[in-house]
Symmetry: C2
């Protein structure tokens, strides 16, 4: 099965999702035009709502196909108050029949997806395509540091319990720790709020988020534990009260070694250097892993920009990706 | 002249301002009760709106007395749209006569103010009163760091231009620099905003404020220059675009050495250890310096808390402050 998703991000680019679908359709069209018959079927599947923008529920289509659709999300409502069940009905679908979309592992030889990288690694390495090693799992944490608010002029530095200075030290420590890792660990503090938030008041309380991803679950979990220990030590030394909660956790989905090997052969056969990289973003393979071995090929995008109208893939790179996918299909050997 | 201000902070404490007025009134009452006559007049003045809460214009009353009232602020409006001119009229005052409040330097021997510390230094030193060395000047800056927003999962650490990680490094550097100073320098980052502010997006832009105060202007200006250089270096190394603007600057008001000496004598005569400290907060002396030498005495407050209902001064400490003020008045020798 070849798949990818329709794009459901608002104000997004044209390539995230559709590139994989159109590339797969082009491959099948080319095989058809040349009258090339294969000893297995090629299915092209476009999954609905991988992003979860409207109902905050990701991997909708692929979970239905994998037989892991969570029926409770049918009651989720969008901002206009429309439930997913109502939205499906309005679209001409019947939520009662979602289970008929489920496929069994025995029906599938493999699940392969071509997707834009959504990151800058291939561009930095001057390569049009790359072989994905794993879809990285993620742990998200919410951190809250409480110190003592005070007058910016009257509290000497030595007597402060400044929650923002403490949070800043945590952010620098998270960055330093992830930078020193040589195996694909990334850590991001994307949100911060300092209270009361006035120029002349020492912040008494700060909230921030932490997003940690790594190519393996073991690696990520060790990293999260190390980062938590570092933050706890910073809070303790500064006499700040720390609250740290895991708000979200996604397991890592490794790509199957036998599919990686065939993808690498296809890349090499098309004359490109074989380059492996993890996917930091989520993909439908995270659902499809439950019923099939997963392989992924990444295509270079400009500046790593995605989920934005500036998202761009050169036509030559789209062509390279499609050729690798076609080569994979033509040379495909089912797992022995 | 003995002065302080009426309290105009909303939801504040009972001591900030009124303690100085009531202590001064108590001193005069005691002199009167004892029939003690002095070779100079003692005036007690309660200044209006030192804080500038309603019209965002500080030192209103003391500037009028100092003859430096800025008439343009009469047109400032509060949140309800009422101008200061209208508010004065409604209160029974005539803005046209503000200049009649002005006093001349030759009329005044000195300006002395008793005030709660609004900081934790006296409490830490286990002392009820302290002699103020200067009302610290302040420089406020608005900093803006621009990097590149990106997906928290797809951009490797080495390729990031994370504006929040950069800002965090700046905040840590500001704190470290001010902590290493042994002469009363304080630096505060009270406000921060990271954009776009989502858990899974590397911040592309961060705004934050910096408030720097020191007991002398020269010290503060050197410190600001050093801090600006540090921030510029951090931005450059991280390939972040920095915009840094001074939004506010207040000169330091030194307390007169001859008044400090007489205040120290009064403190010692009342049996307390003489302890000097700068004022990080602003006071009416900042306006009165234009027509009189300024002296200030601080009274210990609980936990350094001010501008808050929890603001508290022990009665024994209020008594100590009033006794020192009375002793100063009785032993007062005009500048020779």
């Amino acid at each position: 099965m070849l798949g990818s998703h329709y794009d459901t991000v608002r104000d997004a680019g044209r390539w995230d999702g559709p590139l994989g679908l159109i590339s797969a359709i082009c491959c099948v069209a080319d095989l058809h035009r040349r009258g090339r018959r294969l000893p297995f079927a090629v299915e092209v599947t476009g999954f609905a709502d991988e992003e979860g923008v409207r109902f905050s529920s990701t991997l909708l289509g692929s979970r239905a196909v994998a037989g892991t659709f969570d029926e409770s999300v049918l009651n989720a409502r969008d901002r206009a108050g429309v439930s997913m069940r109502e939205a499906l009905k309005k679209f001409g679908l019947d939520a009662e029949h979602i289970d008929t979309a489920a496929r069994a592992r025995r029906e599938l030889l493999a699940y392969v997806e071509l997707h834009i990288e959504q990151g800058p690694v291939l561009e930095q390495n001057n390569l049009p395509v790359g072989v994905v090693t794993a879809i990285a799992g993620a742990t998200r944490l919410a951190a809250n540091l409480s110190g003592v608010a005070g007058h910016a002029g009257t509290v000497p530095m030595a007597l402060r319990r400044d929650a923002l200075a403490g949070a800043a030290e945590c952010i620098v420590a998270i960055e330093e720790f992830c930078k020193s890792d040589q195996a694909g660990l990334v850590g991001t503090v994307g949100y911060i709020d300092a209270m009361p938030g006035a120029t002349n008041v020492i912040p008494g309380r700060v909230s921030f988020t932490i997003d940690i991803r790594a190519p393996t679950d073991a690696h990520r979990k060790l990293a999260v534990a190390d980062i938590v220990r570092k933050i706890e030590a910073i809070a303790k030394r500064r006499q700040l009260v720390l609250q740290l909660d895991i708000t979200h956790e996604n397991r890592t989905v490794p790509c199957a070694p036998w599919l990686k090997a065939q993808l690498a052969d296809a890349v090499a056969a098309e004359g490109f250097a074989v380059f492996e990289l993890p996917s930091g973003a989520g993909h439908d393979g995270m659902a499809m892993i439950d019923i099939a071995d997963v392989g992924m090929i990444f295509v270079r995008c400009r500046g790593g920009v995605s989920h934005h109208p500036d998202e761009h893939v050169d036509v030559a790179d789209a062509d390279a990706g499609a050729r690798v996918l076609l080569r994979l299909i033509e040379n495909f050997r089912p797992r022995s």
